[in-house]
Homo-oligomer: 333 residues x 2
Amino acid sequence: MEKAPPEFDLIAKVWAPLTREAAGAFGLTDDVAQLPVSPLGPVVTCDQVIEGTHFLPTDGLDWVAKRLVRRNLSDLIAKGCKPIGAFLALAWPKERPQAQLAAFAEGLGQDLLELCGACPLLGGDTSSTTGPLVASLTLVGMPLAKSGEPILRRGARAGDLIFITGTIGDPFLGLGVRLGLMDGKGLQNAVQLALAPAPPPLVTAELIAAHANASIDVSDGLLADVGHVAAASGLHMVLELDRIPLSSEATAWLSQSQDPLASLLSLVTGGDDYQSVMCVASDNAETLVAQGEPLGVHFTQIGSCRAGEGVELRYQGRLVPIPRRRGWEFSDA
Amino acid sequence: MEKAPPEFDLIAKVWAPLTREAAGAFGLTDDVAQLPVSPLGPVVTCDQVIEGTHFLPTDGLDWVAKRLVRRNLSDLIAKGCKPIGAFLALAWPKERPQAQLAAFAEGLGQDLLELCGACPLLGGDTSSTTGPLVASLTLVGMPLAKSGEPILRRGARAGDLIFITGTIGDPFLGLGVRLGLMDGKGLQNAVQLALAPAPPPLVTAELIAAHANASIDVSDGLLADVGHVAAASGLHMVLELDRIPLSSEATAWLSQSQDPLASLLSLVTGGDDYQSVMCVASDNAETLVAQGEPLGVHFTQIGSCRAGEGVELRYQGRLVPIPRRRGWEFSDA
């Protein structure tokens, strides 16, 4: 009933090129796809983007698709896994023109190719909706750790050092500008990143698989996500706010703030950074950083783990109360 | 940003019980799930249900969830695979009460338990939407064929006999009643099946894996789906309308028709039956039927395959023109 003849055209013209001729896709002409074998079984993550909740109705759909890919990819990278297959469920508003579907597919294809190591699209479902656009992506990954297992939130040990990739806070600042809550001067790159935050390079997954005891992507906000790892690992974690890596735009924004601590706290609670934060035994820390540099992956030590529970924030050597605010959302607009 | 604190409650109370303590779910407390190993790699199907497109806003959400499970399960069964893990992406309308979410989860859990062999929910994502409800399910399956491969649309051979499970047409009749296009007298069961059509029992997957050369679930309509198999296998297929198995309700409805052929054609083009239709070497046919009976799976021979292309319909020994109408849809209402 749902598969009117145009769907066959859609599959052949729009989606089939994204399979990159993977054998298990069966050319998107069957009802299932078969995944490659992985030693202990593949891992799966599944996240969606919803018009009005995760993006604005006027956003370019190439960037909406990229946000969708990156939301899932950041999970796999943080878990030390590389993507091996993607499945798309798309609820497409009847009134949106077909040209926008082409833009969505192009953004999806570009990120699957360039950020996901040519991960093939293996299947899915496109149906029409009378409501807003909803797209969900199931991204299947292969664990790269020798154990064959993903690097979980649990597994950190007392004495581990906490490292983070890239920089934190730009998507938060960019979203504030997009929602009209902040001045956009000097935040051009942040505004772009708010459309589709950039996860670390795919090779980061190999380094995490080789060296991390526990890991998570920064999606709820750095403070909240480190809290998840602390809770799952049964440890106390100390974060040093002075060490949080910031982009030049965020640094300039912070330097103009009348309350630098409050501003810094907003960056570590903003969320949607898609960077990886991980706990690494101190013996492995030097190797992690050294192996990352030639590959273009910059790891910054931002804290440490010890016995106990909860997260402790420190700034200029002082203990800082945990903030209650968790950053702004679309509903603030 | 999307994970406000209530989501943790939702996960723990509503979704976690559906994992059935599968190790790879990590208690739904991490960002990925790990699937069991399967010989040649697991298979995946991904389909959605959308309010206003696949179900009515007033439908009970337990049945909406069952429709979602069955839409995916029917794909796996027809491919000779058993479900091993499910991932749910749910766009939940802000104004729907939480009690409805509990009903949705209950329907989902019931079908995963009873129809899918206690298949665990391994992950997913729930976010709110300002629009209609959209739910997409990714169902991962283990191929049961000795080859480790799914039974595809391609693979039928000239001389194969065409078999179908269960009965055809009830969900189509029930939908007609629900849309107010038909009198519902004597079609109580059909109306129920229109909410969530029933696939054949899970054990059917084993019999298909053991005996079928090609197979598909009946979702577009029996005629269209046999057409897909004919096209993928490069064969001509003959369907004998007199042999199509019908429920007692559909038989009674047909007996009152002034144009039985037209009525029969509407049943084989209606779609959403979720039964399996397959091509079996004539040497295997007797075994298939005999093995099915004690397991409660009834296979009916409805046609055969020969060299050529396209589908041919026969009724009372005569050739019948292929109808153009493909059954009614929600948009008919």
